[in-house]
Symmetry: C2
Subunit: 275 residues, 2 copies
Amino acid sequence: MKRTVFFISDSTGITAETLGDSLLAHFDQLEFEKVVFPYTDTPEKAHAAVDRINQAADRDGAPPIVFDTVVYEPIRAIIAESRGYILDIFSMFLPVLDKALSIKHNLNVGRGDKATDNQNYQNRINAVHYALDNDDGGNINRYDQADLILVGVSRSGKTPTCLYLALQSGIYAANYPLTEDDLHGSSLPKPLQAHRNKLFGLTIEPRRLVAIREERKPGSRYASITQCEDEIRMAKSLFSRHQIPFLDSTHISVEEIATRILLETGLRRQGKSVV
Amino acid sequence: MKRTVFFISDSTGITAETLGDSLLAHFDQLEFEKVVFPYTDTPEKAHAAVDRINQAADRDGAPPIVFDTVVYEPIRAIIAESRGYILDIFSMFLPVLDKALSIKHNLNVGRGDKATDNQNYQNRINAVHYALDNDDGGNINRYDQADLILVGVSRSGKTPTCLYLALQSGIYAANYPLTEDDLHGSSLPKPLQAHRNKLFGLTIEPRRLVAIREERKPGSRYASITQCEDEIRMAKSLFSRHQIPFLDSTHISVEEIATRILLETGLRRQGKSVV
């Protein structure tokens, strides 16, 4: 049976979606049609959302689930009149937090995802540009500025991980692709020698690497199983020889790789420590 | 007064953090020390978290707030014994959702942020590589594949927005920087002509652009107020002349720019429609 789920916010809707997706993942017996209503910040938009919710209720023959993170109460009141099953996040949590913190919440203050003029935000954007400038070993003379240098063979997941760390956590992450010379040599590649404590390795199962490289250069030596197996074996041996911590990116997402790296390296993100 | 906040998860902790940050933003009178415990998936790690929570309780002289998104109940039970003020997200929501969906949730199924072998995930990673390959007008012969082409002057916010759209939503977003020739010409730049319906413009306040460019090339003509004012004026005029929708990136974050673009263009993300 198909059920419709709405994510309604007067901002981006990221909180409603993140929470909702992670809860609904535990109902894999059902199929969900997901609809996001960001920037629902006027009575007109709220009424439009209510219409859509009621239409879905008729179509599904069951109330849609509504994850509501609208801050402004009069807008929430309109949405509450719909025939959806409303999960009003702020109403559920804020009174509880008021009690726990012995202070009254203040709805009029800037929300987390608003401010672009704060240092954390600028830092994230600068980190994105840094990751781009230092992608693929492009700019090894800026490794001094790096918080982290990801090391691995081509297409082992370095680039998306660097960009995610930059965007999400403002981490300055460079990446260094291991060349054939690096893999056959016994010493640490020269550009990395002064930065041993910033290195983190990524590895990947050879068969997965073949599949990824095949998409890029079908039928090439680069994508052959022999080549991929050799590269991965030598990369792992290099990591071990030089005590570079590493992890296997085959079955974990960019979000998980990034989290595990922060956990292992103890790098601090934007005002948060990772234990 | 300083209060400590813990985000505890047996996965990345993204849900706990996203929800917690957005709620705590409404308590700007307080200062928070935030600590993330990802991958808390053994009794040992749970006990370590409890120790940290209790230490913080002693130090703060008040119970820490704990956002707990651990799925496995026995681990949650250990955390519940701490002296923190526990917000147990799954316990709060899953019974409510069971009722709303008339079905019992299943804790043993894969969580949203796990699967790397599904098509959505591969699509996001491919979109990241596409964004990189098509950054800065680098590869105009692949615009056929684009879902979206962001157009704007240098440093108006195109690149971080493309990467965010790729990572978060699997959108294939290219970006095209307007050159002096483009800005002075009366027609739409040639590489864009076949893709009018994919274009979206970004503009920015000249003073903000000066500040950003100054960091990159201090004292240059490129960063001068006259140059920035001219470029922005001509870019806006080009957008209007060719009916390219555009928005001002000065005061909104990458997350907000991306959400507004999805909203205006109606581009569908990973199985979700944006209304």
